[in-house]
């Protein structure tokens, strides 16, 4: 029996000679390095973004995809990595990105007019190599246009970034990369938070009271697919038992108000009264 197995093995090896070096060699599962995305709730849930893999974030507009993307860009550019953003609809807002800590001089921004240009630019960037993060933002591209991108394109992208330190991040409205993505997250909006600065009861009773400020909004992130096994997730993520988590976005002015409030609350009682 063993001689038959050996003969069979020899036959297979001879057939695959030149195409596969050693088909029967045991290979350890690749240990994937993950890096924090800069959104604590999602980092706790997923353990971070895997390098050398395709990560897909999808959801409707206003679900927090851009906030997630910009947080990730801030995290990576601060770590002195060079990042690239392929913007299919030229929608990247620089002022909010800079205020969130993105180092713009570490970012290559590609402003495209359609999905075709975006895919070609992404392909060139992946082939160029050396980027810490390549983000393909198809959030504003009509879903039917993204749906028409064939699966082999995503597969090719996945294979191109494999065994490289590059994180390939895809943002769209519907899941398109399917099994080519190592991590798929679905985001949805839960509620929008407004704060009332006016204290007059008459003003507050109006249909649109003055002095209203946008505080932020709450979203929910759900893991749709993760290539990490449960024991691997347990090693890298805190909330590995959960499949989803809430996370909140807050506006810049709200953050600065909150900081002020925190500073005031940290002051001694007497000093607080004086203020």
């Amino acid at each position: 029996m063993s001689s038959k197995a050996a003969a069979l093995r020899l036959q297979i090896e001879s057939v695959l000679a030149g195409r596969h070096a050693s088909p029967f060699e045991y290979r350890d599962r690749r240990i994937v390095e993950t890096v924090p995305a800069g959104v604590p709730a999602i980092d706790n849930l997923t353990g971070g973004l895997p390098r050398g893999s395709l990560t897909e974030i999808y959801g409707p507009p206003c679900a927090g995809k851009t906030s997630f993307l910009v947080s990730t860009l801030a995290s990576r550019t601060t770590a002195s990595e060079v990042c690239a953003l392929v913007d299919a609809r030229d929608a990247f807002d620089l002022r909010s990105a800079e205020s969130m800590g993105v180092k713009l001089n570490q970012l290559v921004w590609v402003r495209c007019r359609n999905a075709d240009q975006a895919l070609r630019a992404t392909d060139l960037l992946i082939q160029g190599g050396g980027f810490g993060l390549i983000a393909l933002d198809l959030s504003d591209t009509p879903p039917c246009e993204v749906r028409s991108v064939s699966l082999p394109v995503w597969f090719r992208f996945r294979r191109a970034v494999e065994y490289t330190p590059t994180i390939l991040l895809l943002l769209d409205q519907e899941s398109n990369a399917k099994s080519c993505a190592s991590l798929v997250l679905r985001l949805r909006t839960e509620e929008t938070n407004w704060s009332q600065t006016s204290e007059s009861p008459e003003e507050i009773s109006l249909p649109h009271p003055p002095g209203l400020l946008l505080d932020g909004w709450k979203s929910y992130a759900e893991i749709v697919r993760s290539s990490a096994k449960p024991q691997e997730r347990a090693a890298i993520s805190k909330d590995f038992r959960k499949d989803g988590a809430d996370f909140e976005m807050q506006t810049i002015w709200n953050a600065s108000h909150a900081t002020q409030r925190r500073h005031i609350s940290a002051l001694p009682q007497g000093a607080r009264k004086k203020r």
Partner: protein
Amino acid sequence: MAFASIFVPNFMVQAVVRAEPALRERALALIDGNPPLCNVVAVDEKAAQAGIECGMTKANAAQFPGVEIRPRSRPQEKSAHAALLDIGWSVSPQIEDTAEDAIVLDLSGLDHLYRSEGEIAAHLAQRSSGCGLLPNVAVASNIETAVLAARGFTGTTVIPLGKESEYLSSLPVSVLPLSEETAETLNRWGVHTCGALAGLPVLQISERLGQEGVHLHALARGAESRSPIVAEQAISFEEEMALDDAVEELDPLSFLLGRLLDQLCARLAARSLAAVAIRVHFELQPAFENAIDPRKEPALQKYLPAVYDTRIELPIPMRDSKMLLKLLRLRLQSNPPAAPIQKMALVAESVRPRAMQGGLFLPCYPEPAKLELTIARIANVVGEGNVGSPSLTDTHCPDGFQMRRFLISIDAGKFDIEKKDSFRREQRNQFFKTPASFRAFRPPVPARLELHEECPVRVMFQGMQGRVLAASGPWRISGDWWRENPWQQEEWDLEIDFLPSMGRDASANRRPDRGVYRLYYDALRQSWFVRGIYD
């Protein structure tokens, strides 16, 4: 003190062959003059064996089968001479620009770098062949002997001190700078070699040929000496090529550009320099036939530009001709010349090459040269100015930014843990939650609003209609009133609940059922626009 002389025999032919190396294997004759009166001015060895001689007319030379006939190229001769000087400067800073086809190097002080004078001569010959020239190199104790030996002996020659007369004795007198009259006189005397001339008594030569004879006698003995006239080092590197037939298509053009770049890079390498920018200058074919339309007024004629100029800035100093050719091709693809090219020139702006050592634990970053190529390729897809590094402009105007060329800073790869920690600390202090970001609509989308007591209550844009659930504003901003394009806006943050049945076709961009948008009223244009969405 020793001197080396480099002499390029048959310089006109070698200059042409340098630009077109395939001609080295063929019989070549160069013609010059005003057509149709063109005569052969130079021939290579194979053409000479075939029977072509200088002075023949072009028609006569054309009767010889298998002989390439090319016009003499002064731009290529100029480039070849510049290359010759670069070869000299690659070894010694003291160079004399003796003639178009010859230079002299002062070798004093080089004994610490080279083991022998023979090694220097071999090194010069090797450098020359790298630049596409096959010269004679001679080393001697004085300039004149070195020059005569380089003109007379093929290959490399090293003349030991005191043996100048012995070495030169076998050379013909034609290597000496003879006037026509003196040459005839020496021929009449039966003096054909330098040795024969050196054997004559100097007093009698002085009586018959004067000071010229004394000078020639000293040269023939190898006893004439003088100081070199040092040439100033050139810092620009230029290669030119004039074409017989104008080139229109990119593929043949890039073939020619590749040759020029190869020569340019070889010269840069010889001087241990690298290019930080490449300037391209094309002279275009005057296209009168295409440009002049007799039916139009002369003032309305479309005159095509006569020259094409472009400049390619490089992210790091480089001298990789293949990489430079790729960048040049991409530039010509995105911005092609308006007419066929009949003459081309490439100028390299040179600097010292960058020497940098990478670290083992540094984060990865793209290789600068490769990144430049990638960005150039992407610019071909998305358009020039749509790829690069963004930077905010110094204005309060929303969406004020400019695109810059992306350059990797020297410390791009430094992993600064302190910086990273400070970012985290800052983020923790400022944001308890994830900071909210914004997506811009470029250009802003026109909108229609219904107001109630100056507050938006209903919004319509992109075929969608929605009810305003909450509104924050107006936030008034204005600026640039002192310029031609002032702006004055009132911004609102609106939470909009879209009505489900209003014009959402499948091809349109899907909008959420509810979302927070930023709209503004343009007070100068008196209309509403959607600036973007919080996402």
